[in-house]
Protein backbone atom coordinates (compact mmCIF):
# COMPACT_ATOMS: atom_id res chain seq x y z
CA UNK A 1 0.00 0.00 0.00
CA UNK A 2 1.30 3.47 -0.87
CA UNK A 3 2.32 5.83 1.91
CA UNK A 4 -0.14 8.42 0.72
CA UNK A 5 -2.80 9.39 -1.72
CA UNK A 6 -4.03 12.63 -3.19
CA UNK A 7 -7.59 13.39 -4.13
CA UNK A 8 -8.66 16.10 -6.54
CA UNK A 9 -12.03 17.73 -6.08
CA UNK A 10 -12.51 17.90 -9.80
CA UNK A 11 -15.12 20.67 -9.82
CA UNK A 12 -12.70 23.00 -8.06
CA UNK A 13 -9.74 22.21 -10.31
CA UNK A 14 -8.82 24.74 -13.00
CA UNK A 15 -6.64 22.34 -14.93
CA UNK A 16 -3.56 24.52 -14.59
CA UNK A 17 -1.30 21.48 -14.43
CA UNK A 18 0.95 22.81 -11.69
CA UNK A 19 0.44 19.79 -9.47
CA UNK A 20 1.15 17.48 -12.40
CA UNK A 21 4.36 19.28 -13.30
CA UNK A 22 5.58 19.48 -9.69
CA UNK A 23 4.75 16.02 -8.37
CA UNK A 24 8.18 14.40 -7.82
CA UNK A 25 6.94 10.88 -8.52
CA UNK A 26 4.66 11.75 -11.41
CA UNK A 27 1.53 10.30 -9.87
CA UNK A 28 -0.89 12.98 -11.09
CA UNK A 29 -2.27 13.28 -14.61
CA UNK A 30 -4.97 15.10 -16.52
CA UNK A 31 -8.31 13.34 -16.65
CA UNK A 32 -8.86 13.71 -20.36
CA UNK A 33 -12.15 11.83 -20.15
CA UNK A 34 -13.73 14.44 -17.93
CA UNK A 35 -14.69 18.04 -18.57
CA UNK A 36 -15.60 19.70 -15.28
CA UNK A 37 -18.25 22.37 -14.79
CA UNK A 38 -15.72 25.11 -15.47
CA UNK A 39 -14.77 23.48 -18.75
CA UNK A 40 -11.35 22.11 -17.80
CA UNK A 41 -9.86 18.66 -17.88
CA UNK A 42 -9.20 18.29 -14.17
CA UNK A 43 -6.16 16.69 -12.63
CA UNK A 44 -6.49 13.25 -11.08
CA UNK A 45 -4.43 10.80 -9.09
CA UNK A 46 -3.02 8.01 -11.24
CA UNK A 47 -3.85 5.63 -8.42
CA UNK A 48 -0.40 4.70 -7.19
CA UNK A 49 2.93 6.10 -6.10
CA UNK A 50 1.90 8.95 -3.76
CA UNK A 51 4.27 9.49 -0.85
CA UNK A 52 2.13 12.12 0.91
CA UNK A 53 4.88 14.71 0.40
CA UNK A 54 2.27 17.46 0.06
CA UNK A 55 4.00 19.21 -2.84
CA UNK A 56 0.85 19.16 -4.98
CA UNK A 57 -1.20 20.71 -2.20
CA UNK A 58 1.32 23.49 -1.71
CA UNK A 59 1.51 24.39 -5.39
CA UNK A 60 -2.23 24.23 -6.12
CA UNK A 61 -3.77 27.70 -6.18
CA UNK A 62 -7.30 26.52 -5.44
CA UNK A 63 -8.01 26.34 -1.72
CA UNK A 64 -10.14 23.21 -1.88
CA UNK A 65 -9.01 21.39 -5.02
CA UNK A 66 -6.50 18.99 -3.48
CA UNK A 67 -6.54 16.94 -0.31
CA UNK A 68 -3.52 14.85 0.62
CA UNK A 69 -3.88 11.76 2.79
CA UNK A 70 -1.30 9.82 4.70
CA UNK A 71 -1.35 6.13 5.50
CA UNK A 72 -1.73 5.49 9.21
CA UNK A 73 -1.69 2.15 10.94
CA UNK A 74 -5.20 1.16 11.87
Amino acid sequence: MDRGKMVVNSDECKGCGLCISQCPVGCIEFDNETINKQGYHPAKYTGSGCTACGICFNVCPEPGAITVYKLVKA
Binding site: G4, K5, D11, E12, K14, G15, C16, G17, L18, I20, S21, Q22, P24, K37, Q38, Y40, A52, C53, G54, I55, F57, N58, V59, C60, P61, E62, P63, G64, I66, T67, V68, Y69, K70, L71, V72, K73, A74
Partner: protein, 476 residues
Protein backbone atom coordinates in the same frame (compact mmCIF):
# COMPACT_ATOMS: atom_id res chain seq x y z
CA UNK B 1 -6.31 3.63 6.66
CA UNK B 2 -5.70 7.08 5.22
CA UNK B 3 -6.04 10.32 7.12
CA UNK B 4 -6.06 13.77 5.58
CA UNK B 5 -2.89 15.73 6.37
CA UNK B 6 -3.35 18.64 3.97
CA UNK B 7 -6.78 20.00 3.15
CA UNK B 8 -8.55 23.28 2.62
CA UNK B 9 -7.53 25.52 5.54
CA UNK B 10 -10.27 26.45 7.99
CA UNK B 11 -9.40 30.15 7.71
CA UNK B 12 -11.09 30.14 4.30
CA UNK B 13 -14.85 30.38 3.99
CA UNK B 14 -16.46 27.09 2.96
CA UNK B 15 -18.52 28.89 0.36
CA UNK B 16 -17.53 32.30 -1.03
CA UNK B 17 -20.87 33.99 -0.48
CA UNK B 18 -19.74 37.47 -1.50
CA UNK B 19 -18.63 36.21 -4.88
CA UNK B 20 -20.75 36.16 -8.01
CA UNK B 21 -20.75 33.06 -10.20
CA UNK B 22 -19.32 29.82 -8.85
CA UNK B 23 -18.89 30.28 -5.11
CA UNK B 24 -16.64 27.26 -4.56
CA UNK B 25 -13.65 28.42 -6.62
CA UNK B 26 -11.53 31.58 -6.57
CA UNK B 27 -11.70 34.27 -9.24
CA UNK B 28 -8.00 33.83 -10.06
CA UNK B 29 -6.69 32.60 -13.38
CA UNK B 30 -5.54 28.96 -13.57
CA UNK B 31 -2.09 28.64 -12.04
CA UNK B 32 -2.00 32.10 -10.42
CA UNK B 33 0.40 32.55 -7.52
CA UNK B 34 -2.13 34.59 -5.52
CA UNK B 35 -4.15 31.46 -4.74
CA UNK B 36 -1.05 29.66 -3.51
CA UNK B 37 -0.06 32.50 -1.21
CA UNK B 38 -3.64 32.80 0.04
CA UNK B 39 -3.38 29.16 1.06
CA UNK B 40 -0.15 29.78 2.96
CA UNK B 41 -1.69 32.71 4.80
CA UNK B 42 -4.78 30.70 5.67
CA UNK B 43 -2.73 27.66 6.78
CA UNK B 44 -0.54 29.85 8.98
CA UNK B 45 -3.58 31.44 10.62
CA UNK B 46 -4.99 27.96 11.24
CA UNK B 47 -1.75 26.65 12.71
CA UNK B 48 -1.19 29.70 14.91
CA UNK B 49 -4.83 29.77 15.92
CA UNK B 50 -5.12 33.41 14.89
CA UNK B 51 -8.08 33.30 12.51
CA UNK B 52 -10.47 35.03 14.90
CA UNK B 53 -8.04 37.83 15.56
CA UNK B 54 -6.96 38.36 11.96
CA UNK B 55 -7.97 41.32 9.83
CA UNK B 56 -7.06 40.99 6.18
CA UNK B 57 -6.63 44.17 4.17
CA UNK B 58 -7.15 43.51 0.47
CA UNK B 59 -5.52 45.86 -2.04
CA UNK B 60 -6.50 46.95 -5.52
CA UNK B 61 -5.22 44.48 -8.06
CA UNK B 62 -6.12 40.89 -8.82
CA UNK B 63 -6.33 40.23 -5.08
CA UNK B 64 -8.91 42.99 -4.60
CA UNK B 65 -11.41 40.30 -3.63
CA UNK B 66 -9.31 38.77 -0.88
CA UNK B 67 -12.28 39.31 1.39
CA UNK B 68 -14.30 36.78 -0.59
CA UNK B 69 -12.10 34.04 0.76
CA UNK B 70 -10.71 34.76 4.21
CA UNK B 71 -12.97 34.00 7.12
CA UNK B 72 -11.34 36.84 9.07
CA UNK B 73 -12.06 40.50 9.52
CA UNK B 74 -11.74 42.16 6.14
CA UNK B 75 -11.16 45.53 4.57
CA UNK B 76 -10.56 46.47 0.99
CA UNK B 77 -8.34 49.53 0.76
CA UNK B 78 -7.97 52.19 -1.92
CA UNK B 79 -5.15 51.52 -4.38
CA UNK B 80 -1.80 51.48 -2.56
CA UNK B 81 -3.28 52.49 0.78
CA UNK B 82 -3.50 49.07 2.40
CA UNK B 83 -0.63 49.84 4.85
CA UNK B 84 -2.38 53.05 5.91
CA UNK B 85 -5.67 51.24 6.44
CA UNK B 86 -3.78 48.49 8.24
CA UNK B 87 -2.09 51.10 10.46
CA UNK B 88 -5.41 52.53 11.59
CA UNK B 89 -6.89 49.07 11.97
CA UNK B 90 -4.08 47.86 14.17
CA UNK B 91 -3.93 50.99 16.27
CA UNK B 92 -7.59 50.89 17.19
CA UNK B 93 -7.61 47.09 17.49
CA UNK B 94 -4.25 46.45 19.13
CA UNK B 95 -5.12 42.82 19.80
CA UNK B 96 -5.81 42.04 16.17
CA UNK B 97 -3.45 40.45 13.66
CA UNK B 98 -3.37 42.72 10.64
CA UNK B 99 -2.28 41.58 7.21
CA UNK B 100 -1.65 44.09 4.46
CA UNK B 101 -1.70 42.00 1.28
CA UNK B 102 -0.51 43.85 -1.81
CA UNK B 103 0.62 43.45 -5.39
CA UNK B 104 3.62 45.20 -6.90
CA UNK B 105 1.61 47.88 -8.65
CA UNK B 106 -0.26 48.55 -5.45
CA UNK B 107 2.73 48.50 -3.11
CA UNK B 108 5.65 49.65 -5.23
CA UNK B 109 3.97 52.19 -7.54
CA UNK B 110 0.94 54.10 -6.31
CA UNK B 111 1.45 53.04 -2.69
CA UNK B 112 5.20 53.61 -2.34
CA UNK B 113 4.82 56.33 0.28
CA UNK B 114 2.41 54.30 2.40
CA UNK B 115 4.56 51.20 2.58
CA UNK B 116 7.81 53.04 3.26
CA UNK B 117 6.31 55.04 6.09
CA UNK B 118 4.36 52.18 7.62
CA UNK B 119 7.63 50.22 7.64
CA UNK B 120 9.58 53.17 8.97
CA UNK B 121 7.08 53.68 11.78
CA UNK B 122 7.43 50.01 12.57
CA UNK B 123 3.70 49.41 12.52
CA UNK B 124 2.82 46.10 14.12
CA UNK B 125 1.57 44.48 10.94
CA UNK B 126 2.52 41.83 8.44
CA UNK B 127 2.88 42.84 4.83
CA UNK B 128 2.60 40.13 2.19
CA UNK B 129 3.96 41.57 -1.03
CA UNK B 130 3.14 39.69 -4.24
CA UNK B 131 5.82 40.52 -6.79
CA UNK B 132 4.66 39.20 -10.16
CA UNK B 133 6.56 41.79 -12.20
CA UNK B 134 3.39 43.06 -13.84
CA UNK B 135 0.00 44.68 -13.37
CA UNK B 136 -2.17 41.61 -13.61
CA UNK B 137 -5.62 43.00 -13.06
CA UNK B 138 -5.55 45.74 -15.64
CA UNK B 139 -4.20 43.50 -18.38
CA UNK B 140 -0.46 43.15 -18.11
CA UNK B 141 1.04 46.63 -17.97
CA UNK B 142 4.56 47.37 -16.79
CA UNK B 143 5.01 47.46 -13.01
CA UNK B 144 7.87 49.07 -11.05
CA UNK B 145 9.12 45.50 -10.63
CA UNK B 146 8.95 44.59 -14.33
CA UNK B 147 12.34 43.24 -15.36
CA UNK B 148 14.69 44.99 -17.74
CA UNK B 149 13.79 43.86 -21.24
CA UNK B 150 10.46 42.35 -20.12
CA UNK B 151 7.71 42.95 -22.64
CA UNK B 152 4.40 44.17 -21.30
CA UNK B 153 1.52 45.99 -22.94
CA UNK B 154 3.10 49.30 -21.92
CA UNK B 155 6.69 48.28 -22.62
CA UNK B 156 6.11 46.48 -25.90
CA UNK B 157 9.78 46.61 -26.83
CA UNK B 158 10.87 45.51 -23.39
CA UNK B 159 11.54 47.61 -20.30
CA UNK B 160 14.23 50.12 -21.06
CA UNK B 161 16.01 51.34 -17.92
CA UNK B 162 16.97 54.63 -19.59
CA UNK B 163 13.33 55.42 -20.03
CA UNK B 164 11.58 53.55 -17.22
CA UNK B 165 14.32 53.08 -14.65
CA UNK B 166 15.38 49.80 -13.09
CA UNK B 167 13.07 47.35 -11.34
CA UNK B 168 12.49 48.37 -7.75
CA UNK B 169 13.83 46.01 -5.08
CA UNK B 170 11.49 46.43 -2.17
CA UNK B 171 13.09 44.05 0.32
CA UNK B 172 16.39 45.82 -0.18
CA UNK B 173 14.73 49.19 0.49
CA UNK B 174 12.62 48.13 3.45
CA UNK B 175 15.45 46.27 5.14
CA UNK B 176 17.52 49.48 5.21
CA UNK B 177 15.07 51.05 7.63
CA UNK B 178 15.58 50.72 11.35
CA UNK B 179 12.17 49.61 12.46
CA UNK B 180 11.35 46.47 10.44
CA UNK B 181 12.35 43.33 12.34
CA UNK B 182 11.91 40.70 9.68
CA UNK B 183 12.24 41.10 5.92
CA UNK B 184 12.46 38.09 3.63
CA UNK B 185 12.04 37.42 -0.08
CA UNK B 186 10.72 34.02 -1.05
CA UNK B 187 9.64 32.43 -4.33
CA UNK B 188 7.08 29.93 -5.59
CA UNK B 189 9.27 28.33 -8.25
CA UNK B 190 10.07 24.97 -6.62
CA UNK B 191 9.01 22.83 -3.71
CA UNK B 192 11.89 23.88 -1.47
CA UNK B 193 11.27 27.56 -2.05
CA UNK B 194 7.54 27.14 -1.56
CA UNK B 195 8.19 25.45 1.76
CA UNK B 196 10.35 28.43 2.72
CA UNK B 197 7.60 30.80 1.60
CA UNK B 198 5.09 29.04 3.78
CA UNK B 199 7.43 29.15 6.76
CA UNK B 200 8.25 32.82 6.22
CA UNK B 201 4.59 33.82 6.18
CA UNK B 202 3.92 31.85 9.33
CA UNK B 203 6.96 33.32 11.02
CA UNK B 204 5.93 36.87 10.14
CA UNK B 205 2.45 36.34 11.58
CA UNK B 206 3.85 34.73 14.70
CA UNK B 207 6.19 37.67 15.27
CA UNK B 208 3.27 40.04 14.92
CA UNK B 209 1.33 38.02 17.49
CA UNK B 210 4.34 38.35 19.80
CA UNK B 211 4.20 42.14 19.23
CA UNK B 212 7.77 42.12 17.94
CA UNK B 213 7.40 44.62 15.10
CA UNK B 214 6.90 45.22 11.40
CA UNK B 215 7.29 42.14 9.22
CA UNK B 216 7.55 42.03 5.44
CA UNK B 217 7.48 39.00 3.15
CA UNK B 218 7.95 39.47 -0.59
CA UNK B 219 6.83 36.54 -2.72
CA UNK B 220 8.09 36.10 -6.28
CA UNK B 221 4.83 34.86 -7.68
CA UNK B 222 3.67 33.82 -11.12
CA UNK B 223 1.15 35.60 -13.31
CA UNK B 224 0.86 33.10 -16.18
CA UNK B 225 -1.78 35.26 -17.87
CA UNK B 226 0.22 38.48 -17.83
CA UNK B 227 3.45 36.73 -18.77
CA UNK B 228 1.68 34.73 -21.49
CA UNK B 229 3.19 31.40 -20.44
CA UNK B 230 1.63 28.12 -19.32
CA UNK B 231 1.39 27.71 -15.56
CA UNK B 232 4.13 25.01 -15.35
CA UNK B 233 6.45 27.19 -17.42
CA UNK B 234 5.67 30.20 -15.25
CA UNK B 235 7.52 28.50 -12.40
CA UNK B 236 10.61 28.26 -14.62
CA UNK B 237 10.13 31.91 -15.52
CA UNK B 238 10.39 32.85 -11.84
CA UNK B 239 13.55 30.79 -11.55
CA UNK B 240 15.27 31.94 -14.70
CA UNK B 241 14.15 35.56 -14.99
CA UNK B 242 13.20 36.81 -11.56
CA UNK B 243 15.49 35.12 -9.04
CA UNK B 244 18.75 36.26 -10.69
CA UNK B 245 17.63 39.88 -10.23
CA UNK B 246 15.62 39.44 -7.04
CA UNK B 247 17.72 37.28 -4.72
CA UNK B 248 15.68 34.98 -2.55
CA UNK B 249 16.90 35.32 1.02
CA UNK B 250 16.39 36.80 4.46
CA UNK B 251 17.32 40.48 4.24
CA UNK B 252 16.84 41.28 7.86
CA UNK B 253 15.91 39.32 10.93
CA UNK B 254 16.37 40.91 14.33
CA UNK B 255 13.36 39.13 15.73
CA UNK B 256 15.35 37.36 18.43
CA UNK B 257 16.80 40.57 19.84
CA UNK B 258 13.69 42.69 19.34
CA UNK B 259 11.81 43.53 22.51
CA UNK B 260 8.05 43.19 22.20
CA UNK B 261 6.29 46.51 21.85
CA UNK B 262 4.75 47.78 25.06
CA UNK B 263 1.11 46.87 25.54
CA UNK B 264 -1.01 49.74 24.29
CA UNK B 265 -2.93 51.85 26.76
CA UNK B 266 -6.61 51.12 26.55
CA UNK B 267 -9.15 53.87 26.69
CA UNK B 268 -11.99 52.49 28.73
CA UNK B 269 -14.47 55.30 29.06
CA UNK B 270 -15.64 58.38 27.25
CA UNK B 271 -14.82 60.52 30.27
CA UNK B 272 -11.26 59.25 30.30
CA UNK B 273 -10.97 60.17 26.66
CA UNK B 274 -12.15 63.69 27.43
CA UNK B 275 -9.60 63.85 30.22
CA UNK B 276 -6.79 62.80 27.89
CA UNK B 277 -7.86 65.46 25.42
CA UNK B 278 -7.91 68.02 28.22
CA UNK B 279 -11.61 68.76 27.85
CA UNK B 280 -13.46 69.59 31.01
CA UNK B 281 -16.72 67.87 30.29
CA UNK B 282 -18.64 68.98 33.40
CA UNK B 283 -17.93 72.64 32.96
CA UNK B 284 -19.03 72.51 29.35
CA UNK B 285 -22.29 70.80 30.13
CA UNK B 286 -23.36 73.82 32.21
CA UNK B 287 -23.10 76.15 29.26
CA UNK B 288 -26.18 76.81 27.23
CA UNK B 289 -25.76 77.71 23.60
CA UNK B 290 -25.54 81.47 23.36
CA UNK B 291 -27.93 83.17 20.95
CA UNK B 292 -25.97 85.09 18.30
CA UNK B 293 -27.91 88.11 16.91
CA UNK B 294 -29.49 87.22 13.59
CA UNK B 295 -27.50 89.60 11.40
CA UNK B 296 -24.17 88.23 12.61
CA UNK B 297 -25.03 84.55 12.62
CA UNK B 298 -22.68 82.09 10.88
CA UNK B 299 -19.96 84.69 10.41
CA UNK B 300 -17.08 84.16 8.04
CA UNK B 301 -14.22 85.97 9.65
CA UNK B 302 -10.87 87.02 8.24
CA UNK B 303 -8.23 88.48 10.54
CA UNK B 304 -5.07 89.96 9.08
CA UNK B 305 -2.08 91.96 10.21
CA UNK B 306 1.66 91.93 10.86
CA UNK B 307 3.23 88.77 12.20
CA UNK B 308 3.62 90.07 15.74
CA UNK B 309 0.14 91.51 16.16
CA UNK B 310 -1.41 88.31 17.40
CA UNK B 311 -3.84 87.91 14.52
CA UNK B 312 -3.62 84.13 14.65
CA UNK B 313 -4.32 84.17 18.39
CA UNK B 314 -7.31 86.45 17.92
CA UNK B 315 -8.70 83.86 15.52
CA UNK B 316 -8.05 81.04 17.97
CA UNK B 317 -9.82 83.05 20.68
CA UNK B 318 -12.94 83.55 18.58
CA UNK B 319 -13.02 79.89 17.55
CA UNK B 320 -12.41 78.66 21.10
CA UNK B 321 -15.14 80.80 22.62
CA UNK B 322 -17.52 79.91 19.80
CA UNK B 323 -16.85 76.24 20.44
CA UNK B 324 -17.46 76.68 24.18
CA UNK B 325 -20.81 78.14 23.26
CA UNK B 326 -21.69 74.99 21.39
CA UNK B 327 -21.07 76.13 17.83
CA UNK B 328 -19.16 74.33 15.11
CA UNK B 329 -15.98 76.26 14.50
CA UNK B 330 -12.92 76.18 12.29
CA UNK B 331 -9.71 78.15 12.47
CA UNK B 332 -7.11 77.98 9.80
CA UNK B 333 -4.03 80.15 9.43
CA UNK B 334 -2.84 81.12 5.99
CA UNK B 335 0.57 79.86 5.09
CA UNK B 336 0.50 81.45 1.69
CA UNK B 337 3.38 83.31 0.06
CA UNK B 338 2.13 86.54 1.64
CA UNK B 339 3.46 85.21 4.96
CA UNK B 340 6.94 85.91 3.65
CA UNK B 341 6.21 89.62 3.59
CA UNK B 342 5.64 89.62 7.33
CA UNK B 343 1.85 89.67 7.16
CA UNK B 344 -0.26 86.90 8.56
CA UNK B 345 -3.91 86.05 8.35
CA UNK B 346 -6.34 83.44 9.47
CA UNK B 347 -9.89 82.41 8.73
CA UNK B 348 -12.52 81.59 11.33
CA UNK B 349 -15.96 80.08 10.91
CA UNK B 350 -18.50 79.95 13.72
CA UNK B 351 -21.51 78.06 12.51
CA UNK B 352 -24.69 76.45 13.76
CA UNK B 353 -24.50 73.99 10.85
CA UNK B 354 -21.78 71.94 9.22
CA UNK B 355 -18.81 73.86 7.83
CA UNK B 356 -17.84 72.84 4.31
CA UNK B 357 -14.49 74.56 4.08
CA UNK B 358 -12.44 76.32 6.74
CA UNK B 359 -11.16 78.82 4.19
CA UNK B 360 -12.83 82.24 4.16
CA UNK B 361 -12.68 83.86 0.76
CA UNK B 362 -15.48 86.40 1.18
CA UNK B 363 -15.48 87.60 4.78
CA UNK B 364 -18.60 88.88 6.52
CA UNK B 365 -16.32 90.19 9.26
CA UNK B 366 -12.86 91.53 8.45
CA UNK B 367 -10.33 92.56 11.06
CA UNK B 368 -7.51 94.58 9.54
CA UNK B 369 -4.70 95.26 11.98
CA UNK B 370 -2.49 97.07 9.48
CA UNK B 371 -2.70 98.91 6.19
CA UNK B 372 -1.59 96.19 3.75
CA UNK B 373 -4.22 93.88 5.25
CA UNK B 374 -7.01 96.35 4.66
CA UNK B 375 -5.80 97.00 1.13
CA UNK B 376 -5.68 93.30 0.43
CA UNK B 377 -8.92 92.05 1.93
CA UNK B 378 -11.41 94.94 2.00
CA UNK B 379 -12.34 94.31 -1.62
CA UNK B 380 -13.21 90.67 -0.87
CA UNK B 381 -15.81 91.49 1.78
CA UNK B 382 -19.45 90.67 1.18
CA UNK B 383 -21.73 93.72 0.85
CA UNK B 384 -23.16 94.50 4.27
CA UNK B 385 -20.09 93.03 5.99
CA UNK B 386 -18.43 94.67 8.93
CA UNK B 387 -14.86 95.93 8.95
CA UNK B 388 -12.86 96.47 12.12
CA UNK B 389 -9.70 98.40 11.37
CA UNK B 390 -6.83 99.44 13.53
CA UNK B 391 -6.66 103.24 13.12
CA UNK B 392 -3.47 103.33 15.14
CA UNK B 393 -1.72 101.80 12.16
CA UNK B 394 -3.97 102.63 9.24
CA UNK B 395 -4.00 106.25 8.19
CA UNK B 396 -6.46 105.75 5.37
CA UNK B 397 -10.21 105.43 5.22
CA UNK B 398 -11.75 102.21 3.87
CA UNK B 399 -12.96 102.63 0.30
CA UNK B 400 -16.15 100.62 0.34
CA UNK B 401 -19.44 102.27 1.22
CA UNK B 402 -21.56 99.09 1.28
CA UNK B 403 -20.05 97.85 4.53
CA UNK B 404 -20.16 98.86 8.20
CA UNK B 405 -16.89 100.42 9.36
CA UNK B 406 -15.66 100.24 12.92
CA UNK B 407 -12.44 102.23 13.46
CA UNK B 408 -10.61 101.19 16.64
CA UNK B 409 -7.14 102.49 17.59
CA UNK B 410 -6.36 99.06 19.00
CA UNK B 411 -2.58 99.35 19.13
CA UNK B 412 -2.81 102.76 20.84
CA UNK B 413 -5.26 101.47 23.47
CA UNK B 414 -2.99 98.48 24.08
CA UNK B 415 0.02 100.70 24.40
CA UNK B 416 -1.84 102.83 26.97
CA UNK B 417 -2.50 99.62 28.92
CA UNK B 418 1.25 99.03 29.00
CA UNK B 419 1.64 96.26 26.42
CA UNK B 420 1.42 96.95 22.73
CA UNK B 421 0.91 93.26 22.01
CA UNK B 422 -2.59 93.04 23.44
CA UNK B 423 -4.02 95.07 20.55
CA UNK B 424 -5.56 91.83 19.32
CA UNK B 425 -7.56 91.49 22.55
CA UNK B 426 -8.69 95.12 22.29
CA UNK B 427 -10.04 94.18 18.87
CA UNK B 428 -11.71 91.11 20.36
CA UNK B 429 -13.48 93.41 22.84
CA UNK B 430 -14.56 95.72 20.04
CA UNK B 431 -15.92 92.80 18.01
CA UNK B 432 -18.00 91.28 20.79
CA UNK B 433 -19.31 94.66 21.93
CA UNK B 434 -20.31 95.72 18.45
CA UNK B 435 -21.76 92.44 17.18
CA UNK B 436 -22.68 90.58 20.38
CA UNK B 437 -21.19 87.62 18.57
CA UNK B 438 -20.00 86.03 21.82
CA UNK B 439 -20.53 86.84 25.50
CA UNK B 440 -17.72 88.42 27.52
CA UNK B 441 -18.34 85.93 30.34
CA UNK B 442 -17.35 83.03 28.09
CA UNK B 443 -14.36 84.92 26.74
CA UNK B 444 -13.14 85.16 30.32
CA UNK B 445 -13.57 81.40 30.75
CA UNK B 446 -11.77 80.85 27.49
CA UNK B 447 -8.57 82.69 28.42
CA UNK B 448 -7.06 79.66 30.12
CA UNK B 449 -7.33 77.74 26.84
CA UNK B 450 -5.76 80.25 24.52
CA UNK B 451 -3.42 82.30 26.72
CA UNK B 452 -0.53 80.04 27.55
CA UNK B 453 1.16 82.39 30.06
CA UNK B 454 -1.33 82.47 32.87
CA UNK B 455 0.12 85.61 34.47
CA UNK B 456 -0.91 87.53 31.36
CA UNK B 457 -4.60 86.64 31.66
CA UNK B 458 -5.55 89.73 33.78
CA UNK B 459 -3.91 92.06 31.25
CA UNK B 460 -5.69 90.36 28.35
CA UNK B 461 -8.98 90.66 30.18
CA UNK B 462 -8.37 94.39 30.69
CA UNK B 463 -7.60 94.77 27.01
CA UNK B 464 -10.86 93.08 25.99
CA UNK B 465 -12.75 95.37 28.38
CA UNK B 466 -10.99 98.42 27.00
CA UNK B 467 -12.02 97.48 23.46
CA UNK B 468 -15.62 97.00 24.57
CA UNK B 469 -15.58 100.35 26.36
CA UNK B 470 -14.16 102.14 23.33
CA UNK B 471 -16.99 100.92 21.12
CA UNK B 472 -19.62 101.85 23.74
CA UNK B 473 -18.25 105.29 24.50
CA UNK B 474 -17.84 106.26 20.86
CA UNK B 475 -21.22 104.89 19.82
CA UNK B 476 -19.65 102.87 17.04
Amino acid sequence: MYEPILEKPKSFFDIYKEKSGDQTITHYCPGCGHGIVHKYVASALDELNLTDKAIFVSPVGCSVFGYYYFNTGNYQAAHGRAPAVATGTKRVNPDSIVISYQGDGDLAAIGTAEIIHAANRGELMTVIFINNAIYGMTGGQMAPTTLVGQKTTTSPRGRNPYNEGYPVKMCELISQLNAPIYVERVALNNAANRAKAKRAIKKALKLQAERKGFTFVEVLSQCPTGWKVDPPDSLKWIEEKMIPYYPVKVFKDISNEAEPYPEPKKIVSGNELLEILGIKSEEEKDLKKYEIPKEYRNPKIKIAGFGGQGVLLLGVALAQVGMMEGYNVTWIPSYGPEMRGGTANCSVNISDGLIGSPVVEKPTILVAMNKPSMEKFEKDMVPGGILFYNTAMIDEEPKRDDITKVPVPATKIASDLGNIRVGNMVMLGAIIEKTKLLPFETVKKGFEYFISRKNLIPLNEKAVEAGMRYVRENNL
